[in-house]
C-alpha cells in the first residue's frame, strides 16, 4: 500500500452548464423538426420554396389588392374591362360579397320580414350553445325544447300564415337560411331514423332485416343528386292526383332519407363493436329488448361512433349544396345566381363569391369536426381497446 495522492479529485460539485446551442431553444427545434436528415432538409427547402411562391400572391389577392367596398362592378374591374382598377390588377372582389351579404344569408326573403329569420337564428343559437356545453345544466329539458318545441316555433315563424304573420312561401327562401334549415331537419331526422334502421338490420326477424338491408343498400348505392332528382320528379307521380307537396319539403325528404341510410351504417358499426357479454349481461338481468337496447347497448354504441356520426353530419351539411342542382337556392346556389348580376359581373366576381361561400361552409364543418374531437376526448372512459 502506498500513499495515494488524491489531489486530482475534485472536492466541490461543478456548476451545471447550459446545454450547447444546438441542443436547446429554437435551434434544437429547427434541427429536430426541419433538418433531421438530409432528405428532411431538402423537403423543408422545397416546401419553403413552394410556400414562398404560393403564399405572397394569395395574401396579396385576398387582402392587399382586394377591393372591400364599392357601389358596383367598377371597383372590381380593370380599366380595360370598364372599371376603375389599373390594368393588370387582380384582387378579390369583397365589395360584391359586401353588397350581396343579406342576399347570401336570406335569399329573396321579404326584407320587412327578416326579423323572423333572425329571431329563429337567435333562438337556435341560444338553445344550441347550452346543449353543446358539457357544464351547462338542464340538458334533457333543453334537448326536448331544441328538438321538439323549437322546430314547431321555427316552422310557424319562418313559413307564417298564422297569428297575423304574412305567409312567406318557401320559393323565396334562400342562402344560408336554406342550407341551415335543410341540414337541421336532415340531422334531426336522420339520427333517429338511422338508429331504427341499424337496429332493424341487426334484428333477428328476417323480414324486417331484409327490408332494412334493401333500403340501406339501395340508397347508399346511388348518388344524392339521383335521390333529389327522384324526390322532385317521382314523388308527384307516386301520390294520388291532386296531392302535391312543396318542392322544399320534397328536397328535405330526399336529404333526410339519404342521410339516414348512411347514419344506419355508422350506428351498425357501433352496435357490432359492443362485446357479446354486454348483450348477455343485459339478458341475464332480465331486461327486455327495448330496455336492453336503450339502457345498455345504444349508449355505449353511440359513444363509440361519435366521430362517424359527426362525419355523417358534416357530409350532410356539405351535401345540402346539391339542392342547387334541382334549382333551389341554398348558400352556394344563391352565390352562383348573383354572378350573373350585370351590376357586378367581372372576372373576379365568381371566384370571390365562391371563396366566401367556401369559407362559410368551412367554418361550419371545421367547427363540427373540432367539437366531435372535444366530445370524443370528454366521453373517453378509458375502456377503449
Amino acid at each position: 500500500m502506498t500513499d495515494t495522492n488524491i489531489s486530482f479529485v475534485r472536492q466541490e460539485m461543478l456548476q451545471g452548464q447550459t446545454p450547447p446551442l444546438g441542443e436547446r431553444g429554437i435551434v434544437r427545434w429547427v434541427r429536430i423538426n426541419l433538418l433531421a436528415t438530409p432528405i428532411d432538409a431538402v423537403l423543408t427547402i422545397l416546401a419553403l420554396l413552394a410556400l414562398a411562391w404560393f403564399l405572397p400572391p394569395l395574401i396579396n389577392w385576398l387582402f392587399i389588392q382586394a377591393s372591400w367596398v364599392g357601389p358596383d362592378r367598377s371597383v372590381c374591374a380593370t380599366v380595360a374591362q370598364g372599371g376603375l382598377q389599373p390594368d393588370g390588377w387582380s384582387g378579390a372582389c369583397w365589395a360584391f360579397v359586401n353588397a350581396k351579404f343579406s342576399q347570401f344569408m336570406y335569399g329573396p326573403y321579404p326584407i320587412d320580414q327578416l326579423w323572423r329569420v333572425n329571431l329563429v337564428g337567435i333562438m337556435f343559437v341560444a338553445l344550441l350553445v347550452p346543449l353543446l356545453m358539457p357544464k351547462a345544466p338542464y340538458k334533457i329539458p333543453n334537448a326536448i325544447v331544441f328538438f321538439f318545441v323549437f322546430p314547431i316555433i321555427a316552422f310557424f315563424l319562418l313559413v307564417g300564415g298564422w297569428f297575423g304573420l304574412p305567409y312567406v312561401e318557401t320559393s323565396v327562401w334562400g342562402g344560408l337560411l336554406v342550407t341551415l334549415v335543410i341540414s337541421f331537419v336532415g340531422i334531426s331526422v336522420s339520427l333517429p331514423l338511422g338508429i331504427a334502421l341499424a337496429l332493424g338490420r341487426r334484428s333477428k326477424m328476417p323480414v324486417i332485416k331484409m327490408l332494412c338491408v334493401i333500403f340501406i343498400e339501395m340508397v347508399r348505392g346511388i348518388p344524392l343528386v339521383t335521390v333529389l332528382f327522384m324526390a322532385s320528379y317521382m314523388l308527384p307521380l307516386f301520390l294520388p292526383p291532386g296531392v302535391s307537396f312543396d318542392k322544399f319539403l320534397r328536397a328535405l325528404i330526399g336529404v333526410a332519407l339519404f342521410a339516414s341510410a348512411y347514419m344506419a351504417e355508422v350506428v351498425r358499426g357501433g352496435l357490432q363493436a359492443i362485446p357479446k357479454g354486454q348483450y348477455e349481461g343485459a339478458d341475464s338481468l332480465g331486461l327486455g329488448y327495448w330496455q336492453k337496447t336503450g339502457l345498455i347497448i345504444l349508449p355505449q354504441a353511440l359513444k363509440l361512433v361519435i366521430p362517424g356520426i359527426v362525419n355523417t353530419f358534416i357530409g350532410l351539411f356539405k351535401d345540402t349544396s346539391l339542392v342547387s342542382i334541382i334549382s333551389m337556392f341554398d348558400l352556394l346556389g344563391t352565390v352562383r345566381q348573383h354572378f350573373n348580376d350585370p351590376n357586378w359581373a367581372s372576372p373576379q366576381t365568381p371566384i370571390s363569391g365562391l371563396v366566401f361561400a367556401g369559407f362559410i361552409f368551412w367554418i361550419f364543418c371545421f367547427g363540427m369536426s373540432r367539437y366531435s374531437i372535444f366530445m370524443e376526448n370528454r366521453l373517453d372512459t378509458g375502456h377503449k381497446r
Partner: protein, 397 residues
C-alpha cells in the same frame, strides 16, 4: 322457457300469445310486410293513374328514338344528334367511368402522398399536409367544381393568347390542349406486346415467389417486370420501325390546330373530385399506418431489417389491411360524386339522362336506368374490393 322447465306441459297454454316472443316476432314481420305491400300497391296504383292521366307512355322502347341533342365530349364512340337515346346513354356511362377512373387514380396518388406527409418527422411538411386535409374535406365538392370551372378555368386567356405549358401543351379557356399520339401501321403490335409483357411479368412473379419459398433465393421481380412491360412494346415498335408520331397542337391566329383537347368541364370535375377525395384518402392512409402497432416495426428492426425494408415488408402490408375497406367506400363515393358533372356541364350519365328526361318526359324509365347503372357500379366496385380485401386479410389459425 324457464316456466316450462318447472312444470312441463301444464301452463303452456296459459301464457298469452302476445307475450310469446316468437309469436310477436311473426306478428311484427307480418305487419311490416303488410304495410310495405299496401304502400307499394298504393304507390304503383297512383303512378299508373298519374301516367294515364298525363297520357305518358311507358316502357323502354323510346331508347331507339333519335336523340336530337349534341354531346360535347364523346371520346370513344362517334356520336351525333342523329344517334339513338340508347347510344347517348352509353356515351354518358362511358364518360362517368372515364372521370371516375381518372379521379380514383389521381386521388389515390395525392391521398397517399398527403397521408404519409401527415406522419412525417418534418414539421413543415406535416403542417402543410394538415392544412390541405382540413381545407378540402370541409368544403362541398360542388363548390370545388365551381371553383375550378367558373373561378379558374373560365378566366384563363382566350385561345389566341394560350398559355404554353411544358411538352408542347397549351392551356386556355377552352381547355387543355395536349399532343395526340397517331398510331401508324403496325402499332397494334405494341399493344399486344404490352399485354404480353404484363402476363409474362405476372408469371415471372409467381415463379420467383415459388423459387424463393423453395430455395430462399430472391429474384429481382420488380426490375424484371418493368423491363418486360416497357421493353416488349419498345421492341415491337423497333421491329416495325417506330410507326408512332405525335400530333402537336400549333398556335394559329385564332385557335389551336391539331392535338387533342380536354375540355374545361372534364378538367374541373376531374380536379375537384381528385382533390376532394384525396383529403379523405389521406386520413384513411394516416389512420392505417398509425394502426400498425409500434412493436411491429421495432420487431422488424430487431430482426435486422432496414427502415426501407421494414416499411415495405412489415408496415405497408399490415396497413393495407386497415386501409382497404374505407378506401373502397371512398372510391364508391368518388364514383357517385361524379354525378355532380351536371354542374360543370360535363356529359356524364346523370347529365345525359337529365337531358333525355327533359326531352321525352320519361322520368320513371330514366330514374330506373340511373339506379341500375349506379347500383351495378357500386356492386362491381364492392365485389372487387371485397376480393382484394379477402386476399389481403390476415389468415388466422
Amino acid at each position: 322457457m324457464a316456466s316450462q322447465d318447472i312444470s312441463p306441459g301444464t301452463d303452456g297454454g296459459k301464457v298469452s300469445l302476445l307475450n310469446d316472443p316468437r309469436f310477436r316476432g311473426y306478428l311484427f314481420q307480418a305487419l311490416a310486410l303488410l304495410v310495405i305491400v299496401v304502400l307499394g300497391y298504393w304507390i304503383v296504383n297512383n303512378t299508373i293513374a298519374n301516367l294515364q292521366r298525363a297520357r305518358l307512355a311507358t316502357g323502354f322502347g323510346f331508347l331507339d328514338g333519335r336523340a336530337g341533342f349534341d354531346i360535347s365530349s364523346s371520346p370513344y364512340l362517334s356520336y351525333s344528334s342523329d344517334s339513338t337515346f340508347a347510344k347517348a346513354l352509353l356515351v354518358g356511362i362511358l364518360n362517368t367511368l372515364t372521370v371516375a377512373i381518372a379521379g380514383i387514380i389521381t386521388a389515390t396518388i395525392i391521398g397517399f402522398i398527403i397521408g404519409i406527409g401527415r406522419l412525417s418527422h418534418n414539421w413543415l411538411i406535416r403542417k402543410i399536409c394538415t392544412v390541405y386535409v382540413e381545407l378540402f374535406r370541409n368544403i362541398p365538392p360542388l363548390l370545388v367544381i365551381f371553383f375550378w370551372y367558373s373561378g379558374v378555368l373560365a378566366v384563363l386567356p382566350q385561345a389566341r393568347q394560350s398559355i404554353a405549358m411544358p411538352f408542347g401543351t397549351y392551356l386556355n379557356n377552352r381547355g387543355f390542349y395536349i399532343p395526340s399520339l397517331i398510331m401508324g401501321e403496325g402499332a397494334w403490335l405494341a399493344g399486344v406486346a404490352f399485354l404480353l409483357g404484363i402476363v409474362t411479368a405476372f408469371l415471372v412473379r409467381r415463379w420467383a415467389r415459388k423459387r424463393q419459398m423453395a430455395t430462399g433465393q430472391p429474384f429481382p421481380v420488380v426490375l424484371t417486370s418493368i423491363a418486360l412491360i416497357l421493353g416488349l412494346p419498345l421492341l415491337a415498335l423497333a421491329i416495325k420501325g417506330f410507326p408512332l408520331t405525335w400530333d402537336y397542337p400549333i398556335l394559329g391566329a385564332f385557335n389551336l390546330k391539331g392535338g387533342s383537347q380536354v375540355g374545361p368541364e372534364f378538367i374541373s370535375l376531374y380536379l375537384a373530385l381528385s382533390f376532394y377525395t384525396a383529403s379523405f384518402i389521406a386520413e384513411i392512409v394516416r389512420a392505417g399506418i398509425r394502426g400498425v402497432g409500434k412493436g411491429q416495426s421495432e420487431a422488424a428492426h430487431a430482426l435486422g431489417l432496414r427502415s426501407g425494408a421494414t416499411t415495405r415488408l412489415v408496415v405497408v402490408p399490415q396497413a393495407m389491411r386497415i386501409i382497404t375497406p374505407p378506401l373502397a367506400s371512398q372510391y364508391l363515393n368518388l364514383t357517385k360524386n361524379s354525378s355532380l358533372a351536371i354542374a360543370a356541364g360535363y356529359p356524364d350519365l346523370f347529365a345525359v339522362g337529365g337531358t333525355i328526361l327533359n326531352q321525352t318526359g320519361r322520368s320513371l324509365e330514366v330514374v330506373v336506368i340511373f339506379m341500375i347503372v349506379y347500383l351495378s357500379l357500386s356492386v362491381l366496385t364492392s365485389l372487387f374490393m371485397n376480393w382484394y380485401n379477402a386476399k389481403m386479410a390476415l389468415v388466422e389459425r
